[in-house]
Amino acid sequence: MTMLQLVTSQAVIGSIEPANPRSIEICLVVSAVLFAIGLVGFLTRRNIIIMFLCTELMFQASALAMISFGRMHLDISGQVFVIFILTIAAAEAALALGLVVLLHRRRETLNADAWTELGEC
């Protein structure tokens, strides 16, 4: 930590711009609202594809929160984690859509209620 103390005593403060606290707050509130909307959508919609889309909306909200917190603390790791969120979202989309196509071939419907009993059919 000696380097930090040394620089603290000598550095020109303000060369790195701190985040505008109001804009961080706005972004965090928006991400919270988006997450809640995605949750409600996941619970109410009965179309399988739209249910998956709502999970993507929740991914989006958490990515926004991560970027905001990263900006607040001036840390780059928030953005790195968003890359991993994108990876997971892409993997999930590929698998989920493969499953949906398979299910649609069997029952000709996207209704999630058609699949309430899992079993051999």
């Binding site: 109001r22 919270a32 970027i67």
Partner: protein, 323 residues
Amino acid sequence: MNPVLLYAACLAGAIGLGLLLNPGNRPLRLAGLVIGLGGIAWLLGQALQRSAEMAELPLLEVIFGLIAIAAAARMVTHSRPVFSALYFILVVLASASMFLLLSAEFMAFALIIVYAGAILITYLFVLMLAQQSPSAGASGTEYDTVPREPFMAVLIGFIMLSVLAETLLGPGGVIEHRPANTELIRAELDQWRDLERMPKLLLEKVQEAEPTAREVVTSDTGQSIYFHNGSATIDIVMEDDSIRPLKLDQSMLPGNTQRVGMALVADFPVSLELAGVILLMAMFGAVVLARKQIELGEDDARAAAGLSRIAMDEHEPEIGAGP
């Protein structure tokens, strides 16, 4: 701030969304729109008021946030799936612009390319592949128009939003925090250290400022930048082998993309590898899921073993009937 008011705003938003979930009832939906927008606007206003010092009003953030929320609400309530997907693209675009405003340029464009460009197009393809018969009519199918358990879902959403809003905006909330001077300095130090870990870039930037520089003096521990009199300084070797110090300018700091790449490779290498493995496994999984069993001759093997055929194109087995 009074938490009851906070909950009331969340409740207004939840009621608005709940009313919007009634397809085909125009006055009810209009009322839901007004109530929900009122609640959300109050929440955003509270977020703006919390900062005591008069920081600059983030008008663009508010606008893009409202676009994102409105598009998300419409996506959840629209009765036609293709339109839902299109509204989700609008959400992605709005939040990408918020990423830009939060100075995360690389992630903003990666989001547009990967999400709006790749993932959403796949969703649209599958939606059109699984298109309902045209007899379903303009208002969509029954299961797309009638929501499942709207009251309970909205209640759960209200609880979720209240908890989040309380955590963010309530007394002692997480964004009470202001970056202290030490944090700003640590951030700047981090950026200089990132530049130090990219010696080629450092030399390029130095040669832009000082064309006769040959190389940068690096210590045994890999340190080349040191701090002197409040500014970052390096020692450079000139062409005539003389060594002189050079003050580094703020504009030489690495950009967002360079820093993200450096952090990925240097700080999170194992996670990067794991992400690659996850993508590979997802690809295998998708291939296995989408393959047609009939092409592999599995049905003949099953018939020989006395089991029922599983090919989907021909005899669909009766639902519920065992083998």
